[in-house]
Amino acid sequence: MFSVFRDLIRYNIEFAIGLILVGAVVIFACLSYFAPVDPTLIYVAMPDQPPSGQYWFGTNSRGQDLFWQLSAAFRNSLIFGITVAVLSRIISITVGLLSGYVGGWVDRVLMFINDIFVAVPIFPILVLFYFVLRNNMDSFTLALIMACFGWPFDARLIRSVALGLKHREFTRHAVFAGMSTPKILLEEHLPYVMPIVFSTFMANMLWSIGLEVTLAVLGFTNLNNPTIGTVLYWAISHSAIVVGVWWWIVIPVVLIVMTFLGLFLLAVSMNEYIDPRSRLRRMGA
């Protein structure tokens, strides 16, 4: 595992860049644990100060130090993304492996449900939830709902791998070695889908954070909780660009692009590492 990691960093430029970008953002987000100010308070600093030695990222019109504000926002958004990714991974692994291995009517029922989740557009549903729950919609509820919509595509991917594994001879050997179905799924098949799980984990984080940003910018989340989206929401509602407080918009956007690009590069490079055919191609180049 470690050597794979080392080789990836050394020989895959995309992975290295992705790791540096994500690493920088994660460290920045972790700084929020040492924040001298509570990021939910407003008017604790001089408003509208440009970046300086005292305020590295400047302050916003609500009198918040943007450095600590953004640090907390990125922490919350990353945690949110990870929560959605973990939850939806659990669903997709369970559904994918079961559906592929057990087959028959279990497979048909699960795939039917899967088809419905694929076809229902998530955005109106999320808006509907916000519409109904309003201020009861905290970020964990949102994560739960998104996790419910974030699994179908990946479950299909895992299922197609599991389907292949089911007919591999070692699976039948495992059956005749007296292993139980859960043991076969967890110990024989899960290692094969782990690479997919990792790469879709990143992609899923991208998707959920992006969706959260969108909802927040439209004002459809709890706006007092600092996240990437709510920072932008306040910046836009204070017409930051028009007023000339450009750093309020530019700095978060740069950080977001860094995060997304980093996560995407990690997902892509891992995907490439998994896919032996594109691996061979690289070898030939």
Binding site: D7, L8, R10, Y11, N12, R279, R282, M283, G284, A285
Partner: protein
């Protein structure tokens, strides 16, 4: 006096790979010298990862990285002039493809475009080299299909609608419709059932005789070689270890590996114990010194461990690369054993 159509001289083709920091050089073809004559079927036998597939890739001018020809040459002597496929330009190779040099690939399921009708594939493959269109082209193709005992309506079918035997006959049809001078056949019958296999083999042989072309026939199955080929070459760990007329190879092999391959074939009507060869073929990335077969060879002596035996003539038209070729005798005498049983 027959004339050679292919002359391979000291051919070396290596895979040079560098993947995530692991550098490897696999010497898949390591100094092969041989010739193929006009109007003959030359069989190439070898186990998996013996280098036989890499060898015919070179012959088919399908050399792509990470494989590289390191040394030697492979010259064809076609009607439109000689050509060395290891040094020819892409344009030169383009000019011999299908009209002079064609190829039957293994795995009939994957060699045909799944979303294209057979007729369209025939057009893609044959229209340009045949330099014909309209009625003459159609008649040529239909006539050829009839020759292959294929109904004309396969042209309207998609590959998945045909049985394995039909598909293989279609690929043979594709490879031979332009009457090429040289055909490379890579395990064309391995996946087929015995009855169909024999039919398809017979068909390839018939067409080869009709066209008067040469065929290099690759398979690991010695009993196919016995019935199909005029001469056989045995490849072991990237080298040609023995070569000779098929009959001689089966009844008087002069290399212990060949002798073993022949002896281990079971036969109907014979239940005498068949020997098995233990051990595994060497890794081509790190082959043993000297004769590459020595770790598994029952006849090995110290010399075999250090000195590479040259491929030398041992009988009429028969070459072997073994220091002790004179001590190699057939392990089982087929006819004799048969008579005992009967």
């Amino acid at each position: 006096m027959t004339q050679d159509i292919l002359t391979v001289d000291g051919l070396k083709a290596y895979y040079q790979m560098n993947y995530f920091g692991v550098e490897r050089e696999v010497r898949a073809v390591d100094g092969i010298t041989m010739t193929v004559r006009k109007n003959e079927i030359y069989g190439i036998a070898g186990e998996s990862s013996s280098g036989k597939t890499s060898f015919i890739k070179v012959l088919a001018a399908a050399i792509r990285p990470p494989m590289r020809v390191v040394d030697g040459s492979a010259k064809f002597n076609f009607k439109n002039g000689p050509i060395d496929v290891t040094t020819a330009t892409p344009q030169q190779i383009e000019s011999i493809r299908w009209r002079h040099l064609s190829y039957i690939m293994q795995g009939s399921m994957s060699t045909l475009n799944p979303v294209r009708r057979i007729g369209k594939t025939f057009e893609d493959f044959a229209k340009r080299p045949l330099a014909a269109s309209g009625t003459p082209y159609r008649e040529r193709v239909l006539g050829h299909l009839e020759r292959l005992k294929l109904p004309a309506d396969v042209l309207n079918a998609y590959p998945h609608e045909l049985s394995g035997g039909m598909r293989q006959r279609v690929t043979i049809g594709l490879a031979t419709v332009c009457h090429p001078e040289f055909v490379i056949a890579d395990e064309p019958t391995t996946a087929l059932d015995v009855v169909v296999q024999k039919e398809v083999l017979g068909l390839i042989r018939e067409i080869q005789q009709d066209m008067g072309s040469s065929v290099v026939f690759v398979t690991h199955d010695m009993s196919v070689h016995a019935n199909m080929t005029d001469r056989v070459g045995i490849i072991y760990a990237g080298r040609l270890v023995e070569e000779g007329p098929t009959r001689q190879m089966f009844f008087a092999p002069k290399h212990p590996y060949t002798a073993h391959l022949v002896a281990s074939l079971p036969r109907i009507g014979d239940t005498t114990q068949r020997p098995a060869l233990e051990g595994r073929p060497p890794s081509l990335a790190n082959p043993p010194a000297g004769c590459r077969f020595h770790p598994r060879c029952p006849l090995a002596i110290d010399k075999c461990k250090t000195e590479v035996p040259p491929l030398i003539p041992v009988a009429n038209d028969h070459r072997s690369a073994c220091w002790r070729w004179q001590d190699v005798g057939p392990l089982v005498k087929p006819h004799q054993a048969n008579r005992v049983m009967a």
